[in-house]
């Protein structure tokens, strides 16, 4: 530690300590405000809100039980079953209304896990700048060598189609990707004066990492949350579509597509409704992500000039 740094740290200590972390907090709010000014962000949020509403309130308004047989298999839309029946003769609309919850909570949980692990690993790697950084980044490379879905399938074939396992493995495959982004953003932050001054006054290392560095990478982090959520939905719904998610006779959007895809020529609604819902959901989350990253690029441009 050079004398100059100590001097600068002493200068900083004269100021009220709260001044140091407030700047990033403002930038974070500015990012959200800027993003919300964009039409695409609002449109994306509206789509996501609509689908969350369908998933949460759907079971309350469904006309039938999701497992009740209401007619002959694959019958066309009628008064009793507005979107017809599925390959086993159950009401398509009711199964659709019951089938959105799992994909939502599984993807949200997997995203949360991936973000938390990724942020911790990325920040520690950026802050340590020694062998630990190398070890963490090498481990990242190992996980990155698996296409995400293949890693999940490997685990499922060893342990079985369990929902917790899907959350765990989807989250784990996100983590190295998140860690890489967060490490990249944090590398520049750990060189700044307020980190140096915190080191000088002997602040605990975990406090420096999570109270000083973390608040300064929240903008790229927000974009990453949106991106990972989009991919989580695709992965979770995809695993369920392959038949390794929620098991029959449960109602689930991915599973509905799997169960009815062979009768798509006779009764397309039982495939079409969940496909549209999953497609809209991912488009919605990605529109929000795009809005956030555009706002971030705008803020960066202002900071540069």
């Amino acid at each position: 530690m050079s004398d100059q740094t100590v001097e600068r740290a002493a200068d900083l200590l004269e100021q009220p300590p709260t001044l140091i972390p407030t700047a990033p907090a403002r930038a974070r709010l500015a990012l959200v405000a800027d993003a919300l000014r964009l039409g695409r962000t609002r449109f994306g949020l509206a789509i996501v809100a609509l689908l969350v509403l369908i998933a949460l309130a759907g079971p309350l308004v469904a006309p039938h039980s999701p497992t009740e047989f209401v007619g002959i298999p694959n019958s066309k839309p009628s008064g009793d079953a507005i979107f017809g029946t599925d390959a086993l003769g159950r009401d398509v609309l009711s199964r659709f209304l019951h089938g959105g919850r799992t994909v939502l909570w599984l993807s949200a949980a997997a995203t949360l896990l991936g973000i938390v692990v990724g942020v911790v690993v990325g920040l520690i790697a950026a802050y340590s700048r020694n062998w630990l950084d190398d070890v963490l980044m090498r481990s990242n490379d190992v996980l990155l060598a698996f296409p995400q879905i293949i890693f999940v399938l490997l685990a499922v074939s060893a342990i079985g189609p369990k929902l917790w396992l899907i959350v765990l493995t989807v989250g784990l495959t996100h983590a190295p990707r998140v860690a890489r982004v967060i490490r990249g953003a944090a590398l520049e932050v750990v060189e700044r004066d307020f980190v140096k001054s915190a080191e000088v006054v002997g602040e605990a290392r975990w406090r420096i990492v999570f109270a000083e560095v973390l608040p300064n990478v929240t903008s790229p982090l927000l974009v990453e949350v949106g991106l990972r959520m989009t991919y989580s939905i695709g992965l979770v719904a995809g695993i369920s579509f392959l038949g390794f998610g929620l098991q029959p006779p449960s109602a689930d959007w991915g599973l509905m597509i799997n169960e009815n895809r062979l009768s798509i020529t006779v009764q397309a609604w039982s495939v079409l409704l969940p496909v549209i819902a999953i497609g809209l959901l991912t488009v919605g989350t990605n529109l929000v992500t795009d809005g956030l990253s555009r706002a971030l690029a705008g803020i960066d441009r202002q900071a540069d000039s």
């Binding site: 060598a145 399938l153 695709g234 020529t265």
Partner: protein, 318 residues
Amino acid sequence: MTTRLVLRRLALALLTLWLVSLLVFAATLALPGDAAQAILGREATPDRLAALRDQLHLDEPVVTQYLKWLGGIVTGDLGNSAATQAPVGELLSDRVGNSLFLVLISAAVAVPLSIMVGVWTAMRRDRPVDHVVSTASLILASLPEFVIGIALILLFATQVFHAFPAVSLLGPGEKAWDDPKVVVLPAATLVLAVVPYISRIMRGSMVEVLESEYVTMATLKGLPRRTVIWRHAVPNAIVPAIQVTALQLAYLAGGVVVVEFVFSYPGIGAALVEAVGNRDMPVVQDVTMLAAGIYVGLNILADVATILVTPKLRTAGR
């Protein structure tokens, strides 16, 4: 210097693959209780249990089990399927060809198409067509592959047009290239999933190059627009796109799993899904190692290509 950089990358890739193999092997250890029993289930005959125990070397120490398993993979002895007893190599050989055909066709269409879309939109920057393409890319990039695949089935195979088969049925011993119609919709799905990513990077780097001094210079020299774009701008703009292209091609190694399942296309992806359903660990492990190998290999190729075409990196070690 270039050689040293390339060798370093190669050594790192081998290390990564070795660690990957540890993880893939560990999946067998995660099986509860006796691995053979866990794979074959309760109804397994003692004969088959004994055969699988022997194949997995379960009566030997874990380290020996691992070394024998890894040795088999390296020498091309992939073991036997736990479900059918047939050698995995035999089981996969036809399917590897079909998957390779699908991926190569997709790449052969997707890469030039992405470059053209990128160049074309960069030259019409901020005009309506640029915005339309960018919105369409955003939507396509959001959609999971199976959503794109099923949309294509509804459009071109069942409800609207009846141009292509919805399922890729092939007779026994028939290869995908004997009946190229079956590959059209699966390949189109992969192309639509990949093009948004590559074209976006291509557009970005092309916009940058078009603003550079040497492009202005070439234009002022009075060269025809076509020459300026394709001889001066594009070759330079392609460099940043190499990495993304490799990443997207590597992504195809995972993308084929869902797409092959959607179209019942007889490739290794569909084989993997079937094997996971049967808990056929030897097949799952071999396909996983293959996918990881392709992924790591493509990444090296991209790094080497980038090193070779970037003068700054070529001389970085000096």
